[in-house]
């Protein structure tokens, strides 16, 4: 197995709206997803996540750029690797009038999977008896489970989940998270697009952040967080004006945040207390602000949204 599961170079897609306006959904995206583990694919609404995933799956045509999955150029050689890819794009779509089981049976037959596999994946996703109900009657969570069950029919090496937790309750979200974690630990590659960053932070080994159809940052979660922002400290002090003057003079950036000051660019939190104490400004509270994916994300994608 090559050590890159997905790679795209200069991927580009322009949509034409009904009124003939052009919308550039993806512009020159270079994405690299390492094989094995969970990869978070993050970006604001409309940044081109779904569009990129659809292009990878051959559902829509790219205008330019190249893509490979497990080293094979797609969509040209997609048929050779599609058996190793399980994907759920946006909301799960099946034949509404057929039962969950019937839907899976048709898919299993289409790919030549044994019929017994259908029962197994229904059990695995705890759908069990509900598999005999029509897809139309399923709740969102059950639809999502069925979609996961469908991807498991293939026993794939790469799973692509486009906002899998959309509309799920906390228990459902946790379950999906654990499923993804489990798959990642089995050595499978999971590409998960999401808005819920705390969510992704908990499961992802690596992430890519995109905005306006372009890659903004990528790497391990630690790298992305570390590389994005300088350490910030939150300071409580009684004279804001004087403190701001002192710290700014020392080359730090200071912002007011309610009763606190947010100080960036301090080499060390102790530096902040020492400089203020020198001017007889005494710090009553000082907390280092832990950078998280959310703050990095917001910083990177500021003004990138719709």
């Amino acid at each position: 197995m090559s050590d890159v599961a997905i790679s795209t170079r200069g991927l580009r897609k322009t949509y034409r709206t009904r009124r003939g306006r052009k919308v550039v959904a993806v512009q020159g995206l270079d994405l690299e997803v390492p094989a094995g583990g969970v990869h978070g694919f993050l970006g604001p609404n409309g940044s081109g996540k779904t569009t990129s995933i659809r292009m990878l799956l051959g559902l829509i045509r790219a205008d330019a750029g190249t893509m490979t999955v497990f080293g094979r150029p797609v969509p040209a050689q997609l048929p050779e690797v599609v058996g190793r890819i399980g994907a759920i794009v946006e909301s799960p779509k099946f034949f509404p009038a057929f039962t969950g089981q019937k839907n899976l049976e048709l898919l299993a037959e289409a790919i030549g999977a044994p019929r017994a596999r259908v029962g197994e994946v229904l059990e695995q996703t705890s759908l069990g008896e509900r598999g005999k109900d029509r897809f139309r009657s399923y709740s969102l969570g059950m639809k999502q489970r069925l979609a996961i069950a469908a991807t498991l029919l293939k026993e794939p090496d790469l799973l692509i989940f486009d906002e899998p937790t959309n509309g799920l309750d906390p228990a459902g979200i946790r379950e999906i998270r654990e499923t993804m974690r489990g798959l990642g630990e089995q050595g499978k590659t999971v590409l998960v697009s999401s808005h819920i960053l705390a969510e992704v932070e908990q499961v992802a080994d690596t992430v890519s952040i995109i905005g306006h159809g372009r890659l903004l940052a990528s790497g391990t979660v630690a790298e992305v967080i570390g590389g994005g922002t300088a350490p910030t400290v939150k300071v409580a002090v009684n004279n804001h004006e004087a403190a701001t003057r002192v710290l700014t003079a020392a080359g730090m950036t200071v912002r007011a945040d309610g009763n606190y000051l947010l100080v960036e660019g301090a080499p060390d939190p102790a530096d902040v207390t020492r400089r203020l104490a020198h001017q007889e400004l005494y710090v009553s509270e000082l907390t280092p602000v832990r950078a998280d994916l959310e703050s990095v994300f917001l910083e990177l994608t500021e003004g990138e949204g719709l």
């Binding site: 659809r54 799956l57 051959g58 559902l59 829509i60 045509r61 969509p75 997609l78 048929p79 599609v82 890819i85 399980g86 994907a87 794009v89 799960p92 779509k93 099946f94 034949f95 509404p96 009038a97 057929f98 019937k102 048709l106 898919l107 037959e109 289409a110 790919i111 030549g112 979609a147 469908a150 293939k154």
Partner: protein
């Protein structure tokens, strides 16, 4: 491809609309046979007696007055301005025959071709409907996107769907036509006249039936393509209805000469092995008079067959091309 076609066939037979369509076809078949039964039923004793009486009256009238009327007519003829109609055409008073009164017996060999042709229409319609919804529903529900993540080779996917729709309808059409053919035979055998049903008649009838099976399969495939192109069952049905009314109805009425290029006549020519149609031909005579004639013309079987074949191939290729390139959202 064979595996995919099998899966699609399984899906086709599992669909509710297919079941509803089959029930509909079954009811229409029954209705048709019941109607044939009532048509073929001989007159009741009372009705027969009435017919007999009427014949006797007419015959008596002819015996009493025919000679007199002919003389009168001949006298009238002499006073007619030129050009005169022929005398033997103008003054015919033939003897009434008993079989002109009451109901002639139903002859199997005469009614069956029309019945089969009528059946070919509703079969084609049902096939089109089932085909259109077979693909229309898949696109409108979005299930096609999921399907393509399992089998991304679009032309195979396309081919398997059309093949399933077309082949799936073959046994259905064959059974319906066979029931109508043999059901009618049994009814007419009991109530009317099947003596003239020679081997040639049977082979002609089975040929018509066979071609009606072919048109049903084509209609199922075309319905599938239209369902795919328009992505909704209702849209597909609407477009075809509009076409039938506007092009085949209104347009054909105004432009009679265009009929050989419309679907209906070619369909008939194929199913019936040649079809007749009428055009009005107007001429200005050498004396400056202007007269119009209703002229019967024949559209050949070959024309119909080629027309349907080319039409189907073009539509199927178009659908394949569109599906191959289309973004699936």
């Amino acid at each position: 491809m064979i595996r995919l076609t099998k899966v699609e066939l399984r899906r086709l037979v599992s669909r509710r609309l297919t079941a509803v369509g089959l029930v509909g076809l079954f009811l229409i078949t029954i209705l048709l046979l019941v109607a044939t039964y009532f048509d073929a039923r001989p007159l009741s004793a009372v009705e027969q007696q009435q017919a007999q009486q009427q014949y006797e009256m007419a015959h008596k009238d002819w015996v009493d007055h025919a000679e007199e009327m002919r003389t009168q007519c001949e006298a009238d003829w002499k006073t007619q301005p030129d050009p005169k109609p022929k005398l033997e055409e103008m003054c015919v008073y033939s003897e009434p025959k008993p079989e002109d009164f009451g109901k002639p017996p139903t002859v199997f060999a005469q009614i069956m071709p029309d019945l089969l042709q009528g059946s070919s229409y509703f079969l084609a319609f049902a096939a089109f409907l089932i085909g259109a919804s077979f693909l229309g529903a898949e696109f409108s529900s979005g299930a096609i996107g999921n399907w393509l993540t399992f089998e991304p080779r679009r032309l195979r996917v396309y081919g398997s769907k059309l093949l399933a729709a077309a082949t799936g309808f073959v046994p259905i059409a064959a059974v319906v036509l066979a029931v109508i053919l043999f059901g009618t035979f049994l009814i007419v055998d009991k109530l009317g006249d099947t003596a003239s049903t020679t081997g040639k008649v049977w082979s002609d009838l089975s040929a018509i039936g066979g071609r009606a099976v072919v048109t049903s399969a084509l209609a199922a495939a075309l319905g599938s393509v239209v369902g795919l192109l328009l992505r909704h069952t209702a849209a597909a049905i609407g477009v075809v209805m509009a076409y039938l009314v506007l092009a085949e109805g209104v347009f054909a009425a105004f432009l009679e000469k265009a009929q050989p290029w419309l679907i209906k006549l070619n369909f008939d020519a194929f199913v019936r092995h040649d079809a007749q149609y009428y055009v009005t031909e107007c001429k200005t005579g050498s004396d400056g008079s202007y007269a119009c004639d209703y002229v019967q013309k024949t559209l050949s079987f070959e024309h119909g067959a080629w027309y349907l074949a080319i039409f189907t191939v073009v539509v199927v290729l178009l659908g394949g091309w569109v599906f191959h390139r289309r973004d699936v959202n």
